[in-house]
Amino acid sequence: MSDIGYVRTEMLPEQEPPVSEVGAIGWVRHNLFSNWFNSLLTVLSLYFIFKVLAGLVPWVISPTWDSGSLAECREILHALGREGHYAGACWGVIHERWIQLIFGFYPEHLYWRPIAAFVLLGVALAPVLFSDKVPSKLLIFSALYPFIFPWLLWGGTIWAPVAALLGFVLGWAAFNAVSKAMSTLLGFIAGALVALIWWLVLSSYFVGAMDSIAAIGIEPVESRKFGGFMLSITIGVVAIACSLPLGIVLALGRQSDLLIVKYICVGFIEFIRGVPLITLLFVASTLLNLFLPPGTNFDIILRVLIMVTLFAAAYMAEVIRGGLAALPRGQYEGADSLGLNYWQSQRLIIMPQALKISIPGIVSTFIGVFKDTTLVSIIGLLDPLGLSNAIRADANWNGIVWELYGFIALLFFAFCFGMSRYSMYLERKLHTGHR
């Protein structure tokens, strides 16, 4: 039975894979030209991309950075032999106005303050956002930051934020004293009362007294001077920071067994979600003005901040409720069986899981809120979009549209893209099991 003609006894040497299957060519073959239909799509797409870029790139590359007006831009382009409505961008407007687009009318010698405020914001956020990479001691700074932030932006006496902080301290002390002596609920009520009395009645005397003893402060800046991206970021940061805790409380309230709490939360959420943000902003800017006594000077930016925060909180509550609903019933029962009380089980078992599930939704809401801040231009605040209109009202720049919108879009994209990338990082980091 040995009539087999040929048996290979040694291995063939390994060969290089065919050029058409590996490297760039292989990738292109597999991904772009795998069959005739995909090849057709690829060719068409390439054609469209080329067309768009061919129109866009020459427009963007335009040596008009130093021009002082639209007419000058046209002269420069004309000298280069480029004619027509879309001959080239007029970047002079960005060159002249980019600082204004970022800081609005904030006094020039105080630019360091918003910059410091936002740099410190990063420091304050670090222990929250990157908890594994920074010492947790920084959390103390994070807790103090809500008092530093408005002081840096609006300025004024240092005793105002100190007084605000003292309110919390006093409230906490009262809560501790009463809850030890009597029940937690009474302690809570006492703490809130003490804090409110301090803020409403006593703090102004305290600020006045301390100011006359030691007038420490920085130059105050009125809200009217806020504008541009600084305004957008301020509104965005405050709304984001306040809406998350508020949203958690509302979501818990909506699921609460306490009837009144439940219906207040449901009513609030449904009302706010049923009304467009623009309506709320109009209420803030015009209706409130008419209701308050004449001559009342209730800061417009503060009104907007409150409205945007409430609006974001209602959406946030529903996003978090989604996370709560996704938790299996067993988690709640497990917490109960361990003998944890309501707040302990929320803090240790429910919320960490529910929030993790809701991260994409939460970040979407954040991004949405940040972009919604541009709506304030409708009530006469000069955010980037409002400023673009004001800049166009300068006779030198009247008629410029795309350059301004492009610049604004680019900055917004940078912020929103950053937020979305962070949320993906967070999801990966917290991806501890399941699936």
Partner: protein, 338 residues
């Protein structure tokens, strides 16, 4: 942190409410700043420059009032208002006066309870068409597509005009002037209609302004002027006579160049009364006698303000037209200072 700011604001509000009972003029003096409502940006009338300094024809009125009342043309807080927020801003006391390109109409004066103190610009709605359309009169625009800003009186004027001339049109609604420019240049509409001053400013930004013509018809009356709240006549008088002082200054040849010379005393008693070297007009207003002199010094007389912001040597290039002095065939006619 928000709470304290809120409470601070509420406290201030309580204090301010007590003060508000006094007249606006006293409020302004006590505050040391004039809150003046302007547009969020309109070419030639109000716009912030690169340093955040507001400039323009309406802005100059604010500065003149501030100079008259407070002695400092820069003691003005400019409050940008939109077409929708302007009236509540004034009614609620957020601003002391509005110099915001606002048409003086019956209902605004009577129903909304405002007081128009005068007219600083006589405008009217016009039409702009490309020259290539070969149209020389708005009556030939039968069947044209018209770019028009929604929610303004221009929309109503347009409908009235076309109906009374028994011709038809197709509206292309747009929101802002910038959008209108783009749509019009892209050929989305044959005609762009808005206030004639706006049309001139828009045309000036075109690459080839000569390719577009403004039609001779002006189909509406748009007297634009500063306004204040009803019921505070002393303050209304201050704003009215500041505006009149600017107009009279042009009529009598008082300019920012020769005002110091004239303030030494002239042969013309009217000039002397305006500049406070004769009579006690300022005291009657509750101001000092140099009030008008400061107002005129702030930006020059009416003619100088016009020439500087919207006149023929600016990119906007508006002719005086109706806005010339009555002695030159225009409508500007200030009551006498006596």
């Amino acid at each position: 942190m928000k709470k304290t700011v809120f409470l601070g604001a509420a406290t201030v509000a309580g204090l301010a409410a007590g003060v508000a009972a006094a007249g606006t003029a006293d409020d302004v003096k006590a505050r040391g700043k004039l809150n003046c409502g302007v547009t969020t940006g309109l070419v030639g009338f109000a716009a912030p420059d690169a340093n955040g300094e507001w400039k323009g024809f309406d802005v100059a009125v604010c500065r003149a009032v501030a100079a008259a009342v407070l002695g400092d043309a820069n003691a003005v807080e400019f409050v940008p208002t939109t077409g929708k927020t302007r009236f509540t801003a004034l009614a609620s006391g957020e601003v002391d006066m509005l110099a915001r390109n606002t048409t003086w109409t019956f209902s605004r004066d009577v129903d909304l309870k405002f007081e128009f103190v005068g007219v600083n610009y006589y405008d009217g709605q016009g039409f702009m068409v490309p020259k290539s359309l070969g149209v020389s009169s708005a009556k030939e625009l039968d069947g044209a597509t018209v770019c028009i800003q929604t929610g303004t009186t221009t929309e109503l004027n347009l409908a009235d005009f076309f109906r009374s001339n028994n011709i038809s049109y197709e509206p292309v609604p747009i929101e802002t002037n910038a959008e209108a420019q783009q749509q019009y240049l892209a050929g989305a509409c044959d005609v762009y209609t808005t206030d004639a001053s706006g049309l001139a400013a828009t045309r000036a930004t075109f690459e080839n302004p000569g390719d577009h013509v403004l039609l001779p018809e002006i189909i509406s009356k748009e007297p634009l002027g500063p306004l204040v709240r009803h019921g505070d006549n002393e303050w209304g008088d201050v704003v009215r006579w500041t505006l009149n002082a600017l107009i009279s200054a042009e009529e009598y040849g008082i300019t920012s160049a020769n005002i110091d010379e004239m303030a030494a005393g002239t042969d013309n008693p009217e000039i002397n009364r305006i500049l406070g070297t004769e009579g006690t007009l300022g005291e009657m207003l509750g101001l000092d006698n140099q009030w008008a002199m400061r107002a005129i010094k702030a930006g020059g007389n009416f003619g100088e303000i016009f020439a500087q912001n919207i006149g023929e040597n600016t990119p906007i290039g508006l002719a005086r037209g109706l806005n010339a002095q009555w002695t030159d065939g225009g409508l500007l006619y200030s009551p006498p200072f006596r």
